[in-house]
Amino acid sequence: MNSGALQDLGFDPRAMSGDEIVQHLDLRIGQVLEQIQHSEVWRAVTSADSPPELSREIVKEIYLEIVMYQPDVIEATIATIAQMPRSLPVELLDDMLHHQIEEFDHGEMALRDYVAMGGSEEYARNRPMSPSAFSIAAMWRMLCHSRDSFAYLGALYPFEGITPIITEKAKDALRGKGMQDETLSYVDFHSTEDKEHARMLRELIAKVADLYPEARERICYGLEYFLAIYPMPAWNAAMQRAMERHLKTAA
């Protein structure tokens, strides 16, 4: 009996198959998507009733969050992958690293959109990291620091599971609020690209969980570690900054 997992997760993942682990992750992502769509930030970004300039400011600030945390996430993830057991089949290692290659410069993609929305590149690159971005960066660094390599697979799931659905749902609303193509590259790109990444990640998780029984609990923990700080804390921080600016401008 794993009392820690039972307490934290509500179940013991050790007896689950790889496919069952993936089903659990999908279930949790579904719950998070429900929360997102009932959140204040979602309403402010997508509702026809919210001021378009506020919606745009929130998206701009979300881009800034990504700019701040993404390089640390990539760097820590690649280092965490390097800590995988040496018995890991090389093709799985290849898939893990290749995925990171495909994500490598997405902080720069977010930065380009941020700048296209009127943001300052110098400010984005040099401002202190926001507390919410810092916590995201720190969580990924901690996975590496504690050599919790299997957990990275679960932690990655919110990025790949949530992003394609949310960006697909939001992109038309954002265009309706006057956002131009050059400010929506990140959104457009991830609405299609991350569907494929989610597929790859599902396959990877199922294979790793079947090969390494000890990975199952760590994958489920990784998901929960990340969901404790993402996406709502980061998006709420973005909305807070946007609201402050919006109110100042309106005053």
Binding site: D94, D95, H98, E102, D105, M109, D181, S185, D188, F189, T192, E193, K195, E196, R199, M200
Partner: protein
């Protein structure tokens, strides 16, 4: 003859290929090179041959920069002009949709009335990773895998450039690709 090379890119792999084509063909004919998002599409029919390329994105879609201009491209009148397409893909990690952009680019440019040229064949690839393709089948253009078969990019590129050079009777050997 006037040649235009249009491409989209995210990782700059397609840009590398487009640059190499442009450098090679610029010794043979009047050659222009541009990303699709920075190109004035209305001037496209001024060119005799358009080489259009991009990566295969997501789950086998056109790259978003092509998707954004697809309607404008489809409205062009390219009757009497030639278009050759190239695409990049990844057999190892995205084998199920490898090279889809090649067909999508062909379909897009076919709508302009252009003659689609530059066919190749699916030979020397990794068919065991690409269930939708069979060894030896005709491809509507040049298909490159600059990840799993990076070493084959140069010979494939040179062979295709030479094929186009012969077809359009360009004078200097296209082997001068850098």
């Amino acid at each position: 003859m006037r040649l235009l090379i249009l491409y989209s890119t995210s990782t700059r792999r397609t840009e590398t290929v487009a640059n190499r084509l442009a450098e090679g063909f610029s010794t043979l004919c009047d050659t222009s090179l541009s990303t699709i998002e920075n190109w004035d599409l209305d001037t496209t029919p001024d060119y005799d041959l358009v080489i259009a390329g991009g990566p295969t994105a997501g789950q086998g879609e056109l790259h978003l920069k092509w998707r954004r201009v697809a309607d404008e491209v489809a409205r062009l009148d390219m009757q009497g002009r030639h278009v050759a397409v190239f695409a990049l893909g990844d057999q190892r990690h995205h084998g199920g949709t490898f090279g889809n952009a090649l067909w999508l680019l062909r379909e897009l440019w076919e709508q302009t009335g252009a003659n689609i040229t530059g066919e190749t064949s699916f030979t020397g690839y990794l068919p065991q990773l690409c269930p939708h393709l069979r060894d030896g089948q005709r491809l509507p253009g040049l298909l490159l895998d600059h990840i799993a078969q990076r070493r084959l990019t140069t010979p494939r590129l040179e062979s295709w450039a030479e094929q186009l050079q012969q077809q359009f009777a360009l004078q200097t050997a296209a082997r001068s690709l850098p």
